[in-house]
Each structure stands twice: as structure tokens, then as C-alpha cells.
């Protein structure tokens, strides 16, 4: 693995090897001194052309826990404001000796484009609607912790599927681990098709006997574009205690954050026993440590 862009062309052993490493990293994070020298001498850049505090902090913490040097580029406070292109920004960082780039952008494909410009490893930190592979990895990791296996498990993903990179990456990754993925959302927010995934406008169909439920954030832009009415969405697609009764008892609940309480999810559910939201955040650091390790150390050995 030279880059982590999406899961096209990935196989199960590759994913499992990455998740095994993440388990080791998770143990490191339990120690009183949460730091290992694995990436000493490497430089990781977080290059966020689209702002995202949570993902950036998670990656930076992951890199620092492994003793890498971290530089951080944020669109709002940078030369991008002066009209510098993504390509020139990356070439400048390359000239400074960066080994790995975590790239976030609002357009699908920017990390793919970056691999044509820089020699270092590229990690997709979320590109448009396209992919958010480390989010899917941390979701898979969290689900495996809770369920033991994903083989034959039914995972429901609920919300704005059309515009969601989290849904797309989970739709690629979870079936690789044996899960059945059902995506439910309002018809105007569903894609025509996603390979290997059941798409449905009926929330009940997705929740029925589900082993786990992942709830996506509903963005304000969708209402502004006239694609859905907020109250209609809440009435028909909000995941509530009552609707969750269709799922398996104590089926875990995931949310990639940031959350709109009482929009996509009934307020109190996020804090209930079945919610794994905090666990997701913790596992995110471990999974990102594993990705950086595989890309930087794996690449050295190759």
C-alpha cells in the first residue's frame, strides 16, 4: 500500500492486517506514556483545504504519538487565500521534506490528483462526497470491538447517503469484512446505486434486525438547496428509541460527528449505553497511527 485513497481494489487480508496494527496502537494509547518512537525522523503534513478540526487533531495526535514531526496547513490561514493552487501548496511542502500528506478537500479526487504531484504517501482525510477511508476504518474497528465479527452482520447507515463520503467509504469497506450494508435515506438524498449495498428509502427496512446502526449528519446545505424539508426529515428519518426497537437488542449506535442532536438522532440516544460515539473518537487515533505506520514504515521496507 503506497497511499490510502479509498478501498477500491483492497482485499480482506490487507484490511485485517491494518486493523491488527490498530489493535497494537490501541494498547499503546492505554499506557501511562502514550508514545512510541516508530516514526521518529518522519514528517507528516496535514493539508486541510477544507476545514475540519476533529479529523485534523486526530491525525496530528496519531502522528505525534509515534514521534513523527507534524506540520499543519489550513486553508483559512494560508497562501491559498492569496490564490496559490493545491498543486503548488503540495509541491512547496514536498520541497520541505514531507513524507506523508493527510489531505482533506471539498472536491472528490484531490488526494488522487495529489499522488500525481508528490512523491510522499497520500492519505485521504476526506474528499468531497467520495471517500473518508480512515473514518470507515475506525468505524469497522469499533464495530468489531462491539460485535466480535462483521461476518453476516447487518449494518444500517441512515441519512444523507448521496452527499456522504462516510457512507461511501463504509459501503466499500464493511462488505470486505463480510457485513451486509443497508443505506436508508430520503429518496432525494440517495444515489442511484452503490456497488454491493442495499439502498432503500424505507428506514424500517434498514433498521429491521440490524446488528448496528450508523447515523449520518444532515447538513444544512441540503435544506437550503431545497432537496428535503427539515421537519419531514425528522418525522420520517430521525433515529429514535422507538424506531431502534426494530434493530437487534442493544445494537450499537455510531455517528461520525459532528452531531445535530434532535435532527438525525433523538437527543438522548447519543449518550445512551448503546452509543459508541466516544469509542469511535478514541479508536480514530489508533487507526490513524496504524495507517501512518503501514504507509511510512511499510514503504521503507518495500
Amino acid at each position: 500500500m503506497r497511499h490510502l485513497l479509498d478501498f477500491q481494489g483492497w482485499n480482506r487480508p490487507e484490511v485485517e492486517s491494518l486493523l491488527d496494527t490498530a489493535r497494537v496502537m490501541r494498547e499503546v494509547l492505554e499506557r501511562p506514556v502514550k508514545k512510541v518512537p516508530a516514526l521518529q525522523g518522519f514528517t507528516v503534513a496535514t493539508v486541510f483545504f477544507e476545514p475540519s478540526t476533529r479529523t485534523r487533531i486526530s491525525f496530528e495526535l496519531a502522528a505525534r504519538r509515534m514521534s513523527a514531526d507534524v506540520v499543519s496547513f489550513a486553508a483559512q490561514t494560508s497562501s491559498l487565500q492569496k490564490g496559490e493552487s493545491y498543486k503548488d501548496t503540495l509541491l512547496t511542502l514536498e520541497a520541505m521534506g514531507v513524507d506523508a500528506y493527510v489531505i482533506r478537500a471539498d472536491s472528490a479526487g484531490v488526494p488522487h490528483q495529489a499522488t500525481r504531484w508528490v512523491k510522499g504517501a497520500v492519505i485521504n482525510g476526506g474528499d468531497g462526497r467520495r471517500a473518508h477511508p480512515t473514518q470507515a476504518l475506525l468505524d469497522a474497528y469499533t464495530l468489531l470491538e462491539a460485535l466480535g465479527t462483521l461476518e453476516g452482520k447487518k449494518v444500517a447507515i441512515v441519512g444523507d447517503i448521496l452527499h456522504s463520503r462516510v457512507a461511501r467509504s463504509n459501503a466499500e469497506l464493511l462488505p470486505l469484512l463480510g457485513a451486509q450494508v443497508f443505506c436508508a435515506g430520503p429518496p432525494s438524498l440517495l444515489p442511484q446505486s452503490l456497488p454491493g449495498v442495499h439502498l432503500t428509502p424505507h428506514l424500517e427496512e434498514a433498521l429491521e434486525e440490524a446488528d448496528a446502526v450508523m447515523v449520518l449528519r444532515l447538513q444544512k446545505e441540503r435544506m437550503e438547496a431545497g432537496l428535503v424539508h427539515l421537519e419531514d426529515y425528522i418525522a420520517r428519518y430521525q433515529v429514535t428509541e422507538r424506531r431502534l426497537a426494530r434493530a437487534k437488542p442493544q445494537a450499537p449506535l455510531l455517528h461520525p460527528g459532528p452531531m445535530n442532536r434532535d435532527v438525525e438522532l433523538e437527543g438522548g440516544l447519543a449518550d445512551s449505553a448503546r452509543s459508541l460515539v466516544n469509542r469511535q473518537v478514541q479508536n480514530g487515533v489508533a487507526v490513524r497511527m496504524a495507517v501512518l505506520y503501514h504507509l511510512l514504515v511499510g514503504r521503507e521496507k518495500a
Binding site: S107, A108, Q113, A131, Q192
Partner: protein
């Protein structure tokens, strides 16, 4: 006097020869040889009437960093074009007679391909108030269009068709429903869903063509002269079907297809390269097959480039922000000669017609054939194959979706009314 010896002749009427073509006083003097100072050996090559491009963006005035009249018209003659229609979506748009005259005069002084400016249908191409069609025609505009934008107000388009009709000017439309198209950057469908890119659905084109055909019916009913609608860069099977029906019903409508829609599909977007970002978007294999059918059965009248140069830096932006457009003046004929004629047996005279008489007819120009007395606007085409090398382009857009494709049919000599404007014989 120029003599092109032992050359095969191809025009819309067919293929014949070899002949010895004698050129003088701007005309074809003889097809049976004669004395000349300059003799060109045409062995193995074929000679065709000069090409006419109905749809090129030369960016002057205002965006000379992308292209200007010199680079664009030089690219044109290298591509075998002797005549070219420039789109009016410059900065500012070409919506005054002065602007049309300025373009014509400057292009004439360059002595490359002949420029036939298209002018804006509406002031500022804003789709709200008609531009002065009659004055624009007097100044030399050959076509009216708001290309680059879509005509959202059907009433204004109808008025434009009515005004243009007695002037003999076709009105060309970029037929896409803006609401359905939204912010789409590639063909809508399973691949766009997979790639996470906003889709521009084929129905956006079909819906707008259907509407515009009704607008044309309205104008036809209301007008003494014949209003003529020209549909630009057709990309979908459904759009083609609508046009075929309309033509069968006798509506005065013409249409063009581009080299990129005829040789590339949405699959190209898999590499996330904005070089392939174009409007309307690259479609599916099925759409492409339908377009080829349309070229054969006459539903399509012309192959037009929609040559749309941008700077490389712009085309290296992300897929949401990079501008739409593909430059193709220098490769259009070799591309279709190779991909359609050589690889698929598409008849050569029909292909040549789509670059010559087809587009000429759209503008109301008489056919141009290889015969004694005809204007010597000609292109000599060599079957010798070589790869596309964008670094050698005359266009300022030195990149290409077809870089590295090995093509034959390259123009090695282009003459405008008997004058050599491009020569790559050796």
C-alpha cells in the same frame, strides 16, 4: 501556381483520383495538372476541401492568457480548418457590431484561417434582452448564441429566433436545463455515484432540447422567414432521438457533435483528472454509439470542436473548481479519421462532409467541392501516423486528453483561397 501531384481527392460527394491539382488565382484551375513553380508530391495523401469549425472559443478579447486570435487561428490551420466560427463568450461578450468588426479585422490581418464571429443572442449573454441582431449581422456575425450559458428564458429565445430568421442567421443553443444540471461535473449515473462527483444527468440535455424544439415550433408559426435552430455539442442518445424526430417532421433544426463526445466516455473521469471535465459531460458508450449513428444518418450535420482552451493551472484545479472545456482544434480531424474511419470503417466522404459541407450548410454557405473553378481552400491530409504531442500545439492549451494517442490523417498543407497558411510536408 501550386501543383499537388498524384493525390487522391475526397469531398462530400465521394473519393476519386489520383489527380494532379493545379491551383492559381485562389481557385482550382485544373485536376489534370499543368505548369507550376511549386510542386507538391501528394502520393499516398488525400486532398479535401478546407474544414469549417462551427464552434471554437478563441478567448479574445479578455482572456488572452488562455488563447488569442493568433494562437487559435494558427491552431485552426494546423488542424486543417480554413474557416472558423468563434464563440462570443469572451470578456466582455461579443454583443456589439464594433466588437464583431474588431475581431474580423484583426483576424484578417493575421492571414491564417478566416474568422466568422458568432455574436451574443442577448446583451452580455445574460439571457434577458436581445442584442442588436441586425447590426451584428451587418458587421459580419454569422450566428447568434449565448453559448457558455444556457437560455433559461424561453420567451427571449423565441424572440431571438424570430429576429434572426429574416437575417438568415441561425441561433445556436447550449441545450442543458440549468436546474437539472445543477452543479454537475460529470455524467450522472452509477459511475458518478461511485466517484462521489456531482452528476449532470442526460435528461438535462434532452429536457432542454425538447423545450427548444417547441420554442422553434412557436417561432416557425409566428414568422414569415424560416427561423433556424442549431443545437450545439449534442451528447446524449435521448437528445439525438428528439432531434431525429424533429428533422423527420421537417423542423429547421441542425446539430453538431464534438470530437470528445465521439471518442471519450465518462470512464475517463475515473482518474479524477479535470482535463476530462467538459460541459455537456462525457457520457456512456451507448450515447457515443448513438452519436455515431447520428453522424451517419444525417441527424447530425457537423463535427464541431468546442475547442475550449484554459491554462494548465486552471485544468489542474480540483474537479469542482476547474473550468469546463477541452481543446481540440489541432487533433479533431486526425482523431476522427483514425477512430471512426480507420478503426470502424466510417465512410471517408461522409466524415469529410461533416467537416465541410455539413457545417457550411448550417451557416447557409454553398457546398465546397474539389472541381475546376472551385475556391482553393484545401487541406492535404497524410495517412502517416504519429502520436499526439500537446507540447507542440500552436494553441496556448498545451495539454490534451488524447496525448500519446497514435493518429493518422494529419493536415500537412492547408490553403486558404490558394494561399498556403500551414505547411508540414517534410
Amino acid at each position: 501556381m501550386i501543383l499537388i501531384r498524384n493525390v487522391r481527392l475526397v469531398d462530400a460527394r465521394g473519393e476519386r483520383g489520383p489527380a494532379d491539382v493545379l491551383i492559381g488565382e485562389g481557385r482550382i484551375l485544373s485536376l489534370e495538372g499543368g505548369e507550376a513553380k511549386q510542386v507538391v508530391d501528394g502520393t499516398g495523401c488525400f486532398l479535401a476541401p478546407g474544414f469549417l469549425d462551427l464552434h471554437a472559443h478563441l478567448r479574445e478579447p479578455g482572456e488572452e492568457v488562455k488563447e488569442d486570435l493568433f494562437s487559435g487561428l494558427l491552431a485552426a490551420v494546423r488542424g486543417g480548418y480554413t474557416d472558423l466560427v468563434s464563440m462570443p463568450n469572451t470578456k466582455p461578450p461579443v454583443d456589439t457590431p464594433e466588437a464583431v468588426r474588431a475581431l474580423k479585422e484583426k483576424a484578417k490581418a493575421l492571414g491564417l484561417a478566416r474568422l466568422h464571429p458568432a455574436a451574443a443572442l442577448t446583451l452580455g449573454q445574460e439571457g434577458k434582452h436581445l442584442a442588436p441582431a441586425g447590426l451584428l449581422r451587418e458587421a459580419g456575425a454569422v450566428l447568434l448564441t449565448d453559448d457558455g450559458r444556457t437560455n433559461e428564458d424561453a420567451g427571449v429565445l423565441a424572440a431571438g429566433l424570430l429576429m434572426a430568421a429574416p437575417l438568415g442567421l441561425p441561433v445556436a443553443v447550449h441545450a442543458e436545463d440549468a436546474g437539472l444540471r445543477r452543479n454537475g461535473v460529470m455524467n450522472d449515473g452509477p459511475l458518478a455515484d461511485l466517484l462521489g462527483l456531482p452528476g449532470n444527468p442526460p435528461e438535462a440535455e434532452a429536457a432542454r432540447i425538447a423545450r427548444d424544439l417547441e420554442v422553434l415550433r412557436y417561432a416557425l408559426r409566428r414568422s414569415q422567414a424560416t427561423p433556424r435552430l442549431h443545437v450545439q455539442h449534442l451528447s446524449t442518445k435521448r437528445g439525438l432521438e428528439l432531434l431525429r424526430e424533429a428533422k423527420r417532421a421537417g423542423l429547421p433544426v441542425t446539430a453538431e457533435a464534438t470530437p470528445h463526445h465521439l471518442t471519450l466516455t465518462e470512464e475517463a473521469l475515473k482518474a479524477f483528472d479535470p482535463l476530462f471535465k467538459v460541459a455537456p459531460p462525457l457520457r456512456t458508450r451507448e450515447d457515443q454509439e448513438a452519436l455515431v449513428e447520428g453522424l451517419l444518418d444525417g441527424t447530425l450535420d457537423a463535427i464541431a470542436t468546442d475547442h475550449a482552451p484554459h491554462t494548465l493551472a486552471e485544468k489542474e484545479m480540483d474537479l469542482l473548481r476547474a473550468p469546463f472545456g477541452i481543446p481540440s482544434l489541432e487533433v479533431a480531424f486526425p482523431l476522427l479519421y483514425t477512430e471512426l474511419h480507420l478503426k470502424r470503417g466510417f465512410p471517408l466522404p461522409r466524415l469529410v462532409a461533416l467537416f465541410t459541407d455539413g457545417p457550411r450548410q448550417v451557416l447557409g454557405l454553398p457546398p465546397l467541392h474539389l472541381e475546376e473553378g472551385a475556391e482553393a481552400s484545401l487541406v492535404l491530409l497524410s495517412p502517416k501516423e504519429r502520436p499526439v504531442d500537446p507540447r507542440a500545439f500552436a494553441s496556448k492549451a498545451r495539454y490534451s486528453p488524447w496525448a500519446g494517442w497514435v493518429l493518422g490523417g494529419w493536415p500537412v498543407l492547408t490553403l486558404v483561397a490558394g494561399r498556403i497558411v500551414h505547411e508540414a510536408l517534410k
